[in-house]
């Protein structure tokens, strides 16, 4: 951790430095959005967003919690607009907003329960229509918020390891595991289990980007017996599979997933054969969105992966699409494994209420 020496940087320099970093982050987000392989994994994005928010808290000019929340919301809106499909950015912003609310409530001395969500109980017992406007100034608030953000960063660093530690409970010897594409979380999960158990992994290649190939190479380097299959062979091979373990880009508020294309097919094949589908997803992927926004849900990238530009004759007569994501409904999922343990999809609403405040669902 680098501690900024505030005495050496005069005020206006600090602000230009801050704006420069925010602009650099935004252009990074806009560029890093191509589907040809994540130039940055979600974990790095989450870490960078949180570090940037910590910098904003430390360097921006604000006098009350309300001001800070406004600044963060404003920057947050710009960041999510730069790359709408990268939901971890929005999730981290909401986490930090909740941290600010909690620290404010703690400074005011009120118990944390009073600041929670709407509930029937609150409706009946609250004394007035008073709106919490966060205008009071507390001297220690800045330090408290920064400390809490540091805790969040430590949590982020440990997520992949925490998930991988649970691998031995779920993977047994001589099992056949199926996965799709490349997920760093699943990779660490399987490698951790391979230290003690011997099992076989089948990787679906996940066309057209074929990230499954990289996953297979990496797993076999760790000594795991791996087989690569095409996406079309998923159903055919499924009868021999014991478990399906996948990663995801986002976990939605109803317990559904937004994962790489091909995952819905995999989930349906698993359901048909009654094979358990396990999703390894760290908490920062949990997003309060529902799958109703057709225009922001999908992302389409250049179709030259599907049909290269060399096939010029066909291109003028045919429409070619290359979607990046798939929606998987919650009924097809058996278990979510996150850094805080295993949960059923119907429990996601509870995790969400612990991580985010309902007023922050819309930034």
């Amino acid at each position: 951790l680098v501690v900024e020496n505030e005495a050496t940087m005069p005020g206006s320099d600090k602000e230009t430095d801050l704006t420069e970093r925010i602009e650099a982050f935004l252009s990074d987000l806009k560029r890093g959005g191509s589907g040809t392989g994540p130039l940055r994994g979600s974990a790095e994005t989450a870490r960078e967003t949180t570090a940037l928010l910590r910098r904003i808290t430390a360097q921006a000019r604000w006098s009350s919690a309300g001001d800070l929340m406004e600044i963060i919301r404003k920057e947050g809106r710009r960041m999510t607009a730069a790359q709408p499909s990268e939901t971890t950015v929005g999730n981290m912003i909401r986490r930090v907003l909740k941290i600010i609310r909690e620290e404010y409530a703690r400074s005011r001395g009120s118990s944390e329960e009073t600041d929670q969500q709407e509930s029937l109980h609150k409706l009946l017992t609250s004394g007035g229509l008073s709106e919490e406007n966060f205008r009071q100034h507390f001297a220690a608030l800045k330090a408290n918020v920064i400390e809490a953000i540091n805790e969040l960063l430590t949590e982020l660093e440990g997520t992949t390891d925490n998930i991988a530690m649970q691998a031995l409970e779920h993977i047994h010897s001589n099992e056949v595991i199926m996965t799709i594409g490349r997920s760093r979380t699943v990779e660490a999960f399987l490698k951790d289990a391979a230290r003690k158990r011997k099992f076989h992994v089948i990787v679906a290649e996940c066309a057209p980007f074929c990230q499954g190939h990289e996953m297979a190479t990496s797993l076999s380097k760790a000594g795991i017996e791996t087989t690569v299959i095409t996406d079309a062979a998923i159903f055919a091979v499924m009868s021999r599979v014991n478990k399906v373990i996948i990663g995801t880009q986002t976990v939605l508020a109803n317990g559904g997933l937004r994962a790489v294309n091909g995952t819905h097919t995999l989930a349906l094949a698993a359901k048909h054969h009654s094979t358990p589908l396990i999703v390894c997803a760290p908490m920062f992927k949990l997003s309060p969105q529902f799958p109703n926004e057709e225009d922001t849900f999908h992302k389409f990238v250049s179709p030259h992966e599907v049909l290269p530009f060399t096939e010029g004759e066909i291109l003028s007569k045919v429409n070619v699409h290359c979607p990046v994501f798939d929606y998987v409904p919650p009924e097809l999922i058996t278990l979510f494994i996150s850094n805080i343990g295993g949960h059923a999809p119907s429990y996601i609403y509870r995790l969400m209420s612990e991580l985010y405040h309902p007023e922050d669902h819309e930034l």
Binding site: L120, H121, L124, N254, N292, S346
Partner: protein, 300 residues
């Protein structure tokens, strides 16, 4: 007690758009103001008899849930203040506040739900629900183009009333027979219904025919959405249709006059949570498993 019934009827007549639970709570608040009791226990007893009296007028689940909620409100407030007169003042203030908040709940529900209606959607709904009407109003105000199928909903043909109201909003609407739900579902994109009561399991109690519609939409894989305000949450846990108490199934006059209930047609049915996709309430968008959480927070 007769003046109470009169007050209740007057409330319902004055604002036909008001939910019956809200009218019941308003009536009970009025009763509280007029009450001359000396003890909290006496107050609770008289409120319980007042609620029974109201359910004798309108036997719907909503009135019963409104009454229970009010009773709970009294208990919670009386725990904080021991002195009866001060307690009553606090209760009256909070009661007015509570009424204000729940009068805004339909607007909150509409705000949450209208984003789920996409442009060009075909919606199926059941019978006449003021909350669904509000949601569709909001969606129409946001310039979404959609068309609606409404079931006729016998025996009182309430669906026609819904169709009339929708025609006034310039929404293309078709009235279908209750028996035609399976037939029409292949054309439909989503199903939205209201609820008279939301039970602990996350299921709903609504006009007869809702269960049928839910089973058919599950078979066709169409999303089944329920819109309900939070004061409709009720502490029942029916396991099947028979478990729903008779006092809710039939109209109040039927219960009083008829000897053999098995020859009467029930007015409501129970839809289990496994058939419901999402519930839109003023407490947020909830999955059916989140409903019991809310109820526990209130009653424990």
């Amino acid at each position: 007690l007769e003046s109470l019934v009169e007050y209740f009827r007057a409330q319902m007549r004055k604002d036909p758009d008001m939910a019956s639970a809200v009218a019941a709570i308003r009536t009970l608040l009025e009763f509280l103001k007029r009450d001359k009791g000396e003890t909290i226990l006496g107050l609770r007893e008289s409120l319980t008899s007042a609620t029974d009296c109201l359910t004798g007028v309108d036997s719907s689940v909503a009135v019963s849930s409104g009454g229970e909620l009010f009773l709970r409100f009294i208990s919670l407030t009386s725990l904080e203040h021991q002195d009866l007169s001060r307690c009553k003042k606090v209760m009256e203030e909070r009661g007015e506040l509570f009424l204000e908040k729940i009068s805004m709940s339909r607007a909150k529900v509409a705000k949450l739900c209208h984003t789920f209606i996409k442009d060009g959607a075909k919606i199926l709904t059941h019978s006449y629900s003021r909350v669904v009407l509000r949601v569709l109003e909001k969606a129409a105000a946001e310039k979404k183009r959609f068309s609606v199928y409404v079931t006729e909903s016998q025996p009182d043909a309430a669906g026609r009333q819904m169709a009339e109201a929708l025609r006034k909003l310039n929404v293309p609407v078709t009235v279908v027979l209750d028996a035609a739900v399976g037939y029409v579902l292949e054309k439909v994109d989503l199903v939205i219904v209201g609820a008279e009561g939301v039970v602990e399991s996350g299921g709903i109690i609504n006009k007869i025919g809702t269960y049928q519609m839910a089973v058919c939409s599950k078979a066709h894989n169409k999303p089944f959405y329920v819109v309900a305000e939070s004061f409709k949450f009720v502490r029942l846990y029916p396991l099947n249709q028979q478990d729903v108490p008779d006092k809710f199934k039939y109209k109040a006059d039927t219960l009083k006059t008829v000897q053999n209930l098995s020859e009467e047609h029930p007015m409501i049915d129970y839809t289990p949570p496994s058939l419901i996709t999402l519930l839109f309430t003023d407490l947020g968008v909830l999955t059916p498993s989140a409903v019991s959480d809310e109820l526990i927070k209130l009653y424990l």
